[in-house]
């Protein structure tokens, strides 16, 4: 029996957006992964003022609900303290002992991998997949041969930071995030959104019902 090929996509997901989903979809197709686990961070490392874990977790569930190969894992939420990748991978390796793990991360993040907690243990736990935009040069860190693969994904330069800023400024985020996430953000008033701007009676532009 062949081993399960399991993608692992960690992130703050504040909020999850179409760029995350395109990257997961592309890596999964390219590396023939069986599933991709989205793993929202617990208390994010070096990030203050983050949206409650429960909201970030639910948005990940909503955004991935329609895709049978996308799942959400709470291993980082269930663990106390800040999230380190090595802990994520150790927990998932224990939970999925017959799986090969593929940790999907941004090209920028992977360049700093030598500074991550227990860096030398990382290579034995997973293969690393650095996603980058086409034509974007990448300085790979020193790593065992084959430990890091680079995959080019369509240039979807969406960022969670930009999404939060757009919401705070009253700008639309339709088509940058799944429809369910637009609605979740408005319903729960996240990122300074005005909750009265949602609902069937709304006069606001772009009110996808």
């Amino acid at each position: 029996m062949s081993r399960l090929r399991l993608g692992v996509m960690g992130g703050t997901f504040d909020p999850i957006h179409n760029g995350h989903l395109v990257a997961a979809s592309e890596v999964a197709a390219s590396l023939r992964l069986d599933e991709v686990l989205f793993v929202p961070t617990g208390q994010p490392w070096q990030k203050a003022g983050v949206t409650p874990t429960s909201d970030r977790y639910l948005m990940a569930e909503i955004a991935t609900a329609a895709n049978p190969r996308f799942k959400v894992s709470t291993v980082d939420i269930d663990r106390a303290g800040p999230t380190y990748t090595v802990d994520t991978l150790r927990d998932l390796a224990a939970r999925f002992p017959t799986a090969d793990l593929f940790f999907i991360t941004g090209a920028d993040a992977v360049t700093s991998i030598a500074g991550w907690k227990d860096a030398s243990d990382l290579w034995g736990l997973a293969k690393f997949v650095a996603v980058t935009r086409p034509g974007h040069a990448l300085d790979l860190p020193e790593a065992p041969e084959g430990a890091i693969q680079v995959i080019e994904i369509p240039a979807l330069a969406i960022s969670s930071t930009d999404i939060r800023k757009r919401v705070a400024e009253g700008k639309p985020i339709w088509y940058l995030v799944p429809d369910g996430i637009v609605q979740f953000i408005a319903k729960h008033g996240l990122y300074g959104s005005k909750s009265e701007s949602v609902g069937p009676e709304s006069e606001s532009f772009g009110g996808v019902k």
Copy 2:
């Protein structure tokens, strides 16, 4: 009574994708448009081998169906011969005599506006809105004051050409186009897609049901 502010988004839409939808949403919010009309070209100007008009029209309807302020117009499909913007705008001006028209186009296209058919008539028919990526410099053509507005949209560098290429290569297009468009392309075998790769029994990755 104030005049209807009507966005006009012409294009081949082969296929329509999230980049088109984000641009329309952003321009509409920024300029407080009442509606945006998506206008698929009939026989495209200088483009051969294009997907049948009926498919491109239906994809535009499907992609905009959930947004109450997005509509599709067949003026360019109903008119015989190649599509010129001046004809689109004359037809729409006749159909919506109390509307102010805002023609939304790419920043690259607008630079060549002087070469368009009956170019000098264009300024009286509509305001022109050039959408561009943040930080992307733009050489505006000579035009009456206020005739062209530039609006920066989030950097969604999706192109229909790339979507067609991805489909032909068997790569996923989920989250680059609305879910209904993924399904329409597979169902009708557009762009060389394999129709057996869709449906609930599918084993292909990313089969959003």
